[in-house]
Symmetry: D2
Subunit: 295 residues, 4 copies
């Protein structure tokens, strides 16, 4: 039946996406490393699977939302992976933050196998995922994009098409995460400068967040940075570091010197080296700036 799809990855974002797909009437064949996570979903619409291959069996679409390139490749190509059971002509919608190289590589392998791959990374934290407010970037084959559209429309407030290249959407996602990190760093520097000059960090953050920079990224991250409010952990520093590495690597492969990417990469590398990998990336950046300044 048409409305059955595979769904792999019940992380912070994935779980809300799965719920929204169920609300839209889809039945999900779910795989997750910790499968008990699927108990949060309505069992009437869920088939729990022991392997990625089982999740991909008999569906025309399988969605993956995973932590990094290596996990995506293992889930797709490894033993009991998606490719072992994905039907011919079926589509793999890959929503993880991965390098464009990985998308190019998987696109080729899917083509060889008679199936399809579509890069569809997204912007938004858990609350946005829950509220169907994600922004989803896609690029690749037109037919794949057409097939994916109705499914993606259930997940976000917009699907933006960045052309025919297999990895273009991944480039946009990596660029965007860099811009978010750079926004956090600039606020941490500015508010620490204000603090060391006798001003109230929170007032300065509030001013910028309600005037020149009145968007949620500056408002929400800005409040956390100003108040040195580093918990609960929303997005781990080690994942932020992974994103910084992706941006750095892309700057290498495309020969684009990017001084701010360098600075952010150093910031997050140092955070991980200091043992803050499990802390929120707001802490990696905010505390990093503060400690360098001796406060």
């Amino acid at each position: 039946m048409e409305k059955k799809i595979g769904f792999i990855g019940l992380g912070t974002i994935g779980i809300h996406m799965a719920q929204n797909l169920i609300k839209s009437g889809y039945h999900l064949q779910v795989y997750n490393r910790t499968l008990s996570k699927a108990d949060e979903l309505d069992p009437a619409y869920v088939t729990k699977c022991q392997t990625p291959a089982n999740a991909a069996e008999g569906v025309h679409i399988v969605i993956t939302i995973l932590s990094d390139d290596d996990v995506l490749k293992e889930i797709t190509l490894g033993n009991q992976g998606i490719m072992e059971k994905l039907p011919e002509h079926a589509l793999h919608i890959s929503m993880s933050t991965v390098s464009p190289e990985t998308s190019e590589h998987l696109t080729l392998l899917h083509e060889e196998a008679g199936s399809h791959y579509l890069a569809a990374p997204l912007f938004g934290r858990a609350e946005a995922a829950e509220a169907r407010k994600l922004w989803i970037c896609v690029s690749g084959d037109q037919h794949a994009k057409d097939t994916a559209k109705p499914v993606l429309d259930c997940l976000g407030q917009g699907v933006i098409d960045f052309g025919e290249s297999a990895g273009g959407a991944n480039v946009v996602k990596i660029a965007g995460n860099f811009m978010i990190m750079a926004s956090m760093e600039m606020m941490a520097e500015a508010y620490t400068l204000a603090e060391k000059n006798g001003l109230d960090r929170a007032q300065v953050a509030s001013f910028f967040g309600s005037t020149l920079f009145n968007v949620p990224i500056f408002q929400n991250y800005g409040r956390a940075i100003a108040n040195k409010q580093y918990e609960p952990v929303g997005f781990k520093s080690k994942l932020g570091y992974k994103d910084a590495r992706l941006a750095f690597k892309l700057s290498q492969t495309s020969q684009t010197p990017m001084p701010l990417v360098n600075a952010l990469h150093s910031r997050l590398l140092s955070a991980v080296a200091k043992g803050w990998g499990e802390a929120d990336w707001i802490e990696a950046i905010g505390r990093g700036v503060s400690e360098d300044a001796g406060v």
Copy 2:
């Protein structure tokens, strides 16, 4: 009479401020290095003055909006400067982007002379000045802030009070200009990365400007950066470099290491070294990133 004030500095921003003060019923004693600039103002409400001292003579308020610390000090303390004629108890509202040290220094000198000084730097480009949409930051003596309030309300959409310190408002202004520059640099890097990976700079800029970063700074500067549209010149690189120096100096005096300030300072220093000082700071940053990447 109450409604007569001194006004010094008819630059890109100053000219609109003067017009708005006139619209609000003020009569201005105007001084400008190029005094013919005052011909753009309604002569019924303007007295042209040959020196800063004359502009300050007999008023209870004199406003300065000048290019840098040195000019402000010269206009205030130099031969035929404000201090020679400013009446006792009168208030000097200083709206230029200058260092907090300069504000502290001038506050002391005004106090010694029996007059007052108020730092009141602003955010906004020429269009915002024209539309009374500036954001004005103030800090210092409460009485000075109270006296300035009705005048400043004629110029912007908000006056924000950053406390009692003489230079606090200048710190906020410097921090804000750094954040604007950092926003430009991050966009230039991100959009060049996109370009070198085969994407359309303008589409990427449009996406970010209408989603995660939907504020004018990212929209307007973003469009110019994406399109490599560097003219007409709105804000000169040499002034941007001055602002980067102010931020750098503040990071030194307050012992706040700021990696992004370093990066921006280098970017603008290099622009000036290459002879682009008269070009718009969008060009300094955008073209700088492009040239480093060989495009």
Copy 3:
């Protein structure tokens, strides 16, 4: 017979090493991508081979001196590669500048095949290679180091043992190349600073090279940098960039933030992006600093 060894890689350094081995009485089975390069060697002591496998056939030692990790892996593991014919118990002495990961990987593969691998990277340019003045770093299995010793003694003025780890010597080599690059960058910056302050670059370079920094690296590179003498090309920028990437990658994998490595990586990445990949790395650095300064 004992004195026959395989030799792969007749580049700028390799050709002199081969000549010195011949002078020491070795007979070489030579492979090089451009095999005609072997015509420079005494034919009485050379067997030209059409493949790496042939060069490794029947010898107890094969030496490789190649441009990067990928070439080394292809020559060793590829079709007609060393592993196809290298005898059991034979030793592969790997003198290229490669990552420690590559050495660890090849060590394992050699062990599985019953042969041995030794990392033995070197310091010194062509003249040092010719004069048997190279410094050779080794690390790995003790037996392998003992076997290699008499051969390596024919090539340099010292063999330094950095312990048992497969890749330790590569780490030292990568660290050393970073230090050389950083020395060049610091001179380029210092001498350009001198120039822009009205001093004679060459005199300043001569002063430092004969006092505080009186070692060949500072003297020879210093003279070239001071005189902007970028030809003939000794070591290509694209190879320098490769070394910067190795250093950067090592800083990532070992979680060691290294600001100067960042700066050098950016410098060489930008040089390659600007199309200077075939120019000497002295030019990449020297001209890079000059252009940023507008001279």
Copy 4:
């Protein structure tokens, strides 16, 4: 009498210089903030003075060796300063590490007063000062250089002439101190990289110090950095930071972007911000790199 000269500044270097001048037969009119320091000198050849003016009274040469620009200006121009008593035609030999601007400024003021100023900064730590092994850089008026020569020859192993400009020698000194700091930073990064890859820091330092970088700067600082031996304090971080500021300022005024200067400036600024200002600059750099790497 010819052999009487003024001498101001009995710091770590100054005290040895004073001793060597006495050994060469000079009688010194000494001023030091802590005058008891002069008790270390042979009283037969010393006149203790209560003010800089007294030290300069009646001599044809006065030497200053002080901590920074501000102290030099105060000692020279302040109340009871040198200028109050220095005879006409006398020469002020300024051996402190100061900006070229200060030398230009003092040269003009001396000229107006009918006396002379010569920038003569030096390279070498206390042991070198004691052993008359300093390198002394001079620039300025030829007659001043001729007059100073016999005195300077008593203090070092070489006097190098960098031309006619008042501040040229200061530029060389600032460039050299930057090169020393950059050498320390590159070693700290390289040896920490080695450590985190399982190698012995000290062995790596010993290797580079006896081969490619066999000069005292790399050997002595290298040993201290490798062994994390940060005491006794030879040169304070806050003075190192002052030197980094001088280099940075010079890069600004001469429009020379210098990425390594940026990195060093940040390193030392952060050390001072963290409260390490009184620690040796080896600690500022060595410990800074280690802490960023979490070791």
